[in-house]
């Protein structure tokens, strides 16, 4: 898939996943790369960006196996940003689908 496509929506995907429950970095990477291919290392710069924007907060939590995990949690500001991104995405993808539909109808 086109890299620019993914880069643009990756923020939204991460925030959508965090909206369901708090998650740690590896879990986020895993959830997303199961659905589409990403360079796993790019999730962490993105998370740091969301952190400096104030969209997420982090906390460390011990686990039964392995190291303590850094959990990411969506802030109120993050929820607003996520909803706005999802709204824009829905509008945009509907318009693009319409356009492609018209084109394929005209060709067929």
């Amino acid at each position: 898939m086109n890299a620019q496509f993914k880069k643009g929506v990756l923020d939204m995907c991460v925030m959508a996943l965090l909206g369901l429950r708090d998650r740690y970095g590896y879990e986020l990477v895993h959830e997303i790369s199961e659905r589409f291919e990403i360079s796993e290392g790019s999730i962490y710069p993105l998370l740091r960006r969301l952190l400096t924007e104030g969209y997420v907060t982090t906390y460390l939590q011990e686990s039964d196996e392995g190291p303590a995990r850094k959990y990411y949690s969506l802030t109120k500001q993050g929820i607003m940003a996520r909803d706005e991104l999802i709204r824009e995405w829905r509008e945009f993808s509907a318009a693009v689908s319409d356009l492609i539909g018209e084109m394929t109808n005209a060709e067929g």
Binding site: G25, S39, G41, P45, R48
Partner: protein
């Protein structure tokens, strides 16, 4: 690439940012390696799917420098942020450097025009006054009273341009920061995703 080598390369690429932030970032990747190992993956596999540590390091550095330029505005700060963003890829050389050079040129030209008017105005007014007083003659080729007011007008225009330039520079600075952020978030990524 093994975990240790990966983290070392990443650490080297993170040279432009504060030590606490650097340690924090390295800890994220160390955690990723450990989680991956629990998943039964080898260090080589994990390093492979993480992507080039140098590219990742550059992105962090650019984001960090843009953030710093935003919070403590300075010409050097924005310069470093722009250089770091340009360093993210060849494409950025065009979409960042060219607008930057255009803006600097326009600001410089405006500044020169403003200063010239500020100098020319008082000289014209002064010359006209001297002419009217009869101290000198032949300096002003048209009506001396008109020249006095024209000189005052030019001085004011020059001052307005310089003040306007100050506001314009501040506005462009803010827009520039937003553009760099957007650039890092969207444009850059052909190699890193």
């Amino acid at each position: 690439m093994q975990k240790d080598e990966y983290l070392k390369k990443l650490g080297l690429a993170l040279s432009g940012i504060s030590e606490t932030e650097r340690q924090d970032i390295l800890a994220d990747y160390a955690e990723h390696f450990e989680m991956g190992a629990l998943d039964g993956r080898t260090e080589e596999e994990i390093a492979e799917s993480l992507g080039d540590p140098k590219t990742i390091g550059r992105e962090y550095t650019a984001v960090s420098l843009v953030k710093r330029a935003e919070h403590s505005p300075s010409a050097g700060g924005i310069g470093r942020a722009i250089l770091a963003t340009i360093g993210l890829g060849l494409f950025n050389l065009i979409v960042v450097l060219i607008p930057f050079i255009c803006i600097i040129t326009i600001l410089a030209v405006l500044l020169v025009i403003g200063f010239s008017l500020c100098c020319a105005g008082p000289i014209l007014t002064g010359g006209a006054v001297l002419e009217m007083l009869g101290i000198v003659s032949g300096v002003i080729f048209f009506s001396a009273p008109a020249a006095i007011f024209l000189g005052i007008g030019l001085t004011c225009l020059g001052l307005l341009i310089i003040i306007g330039e100050f506001w314009l520079a501040r506005l462009l600075y803010r827009i520039g920061i937003r553009y760099l952020k957007w650039n890092i978030a969207i444009i850059h990524g052909s190699e890193s995703i």
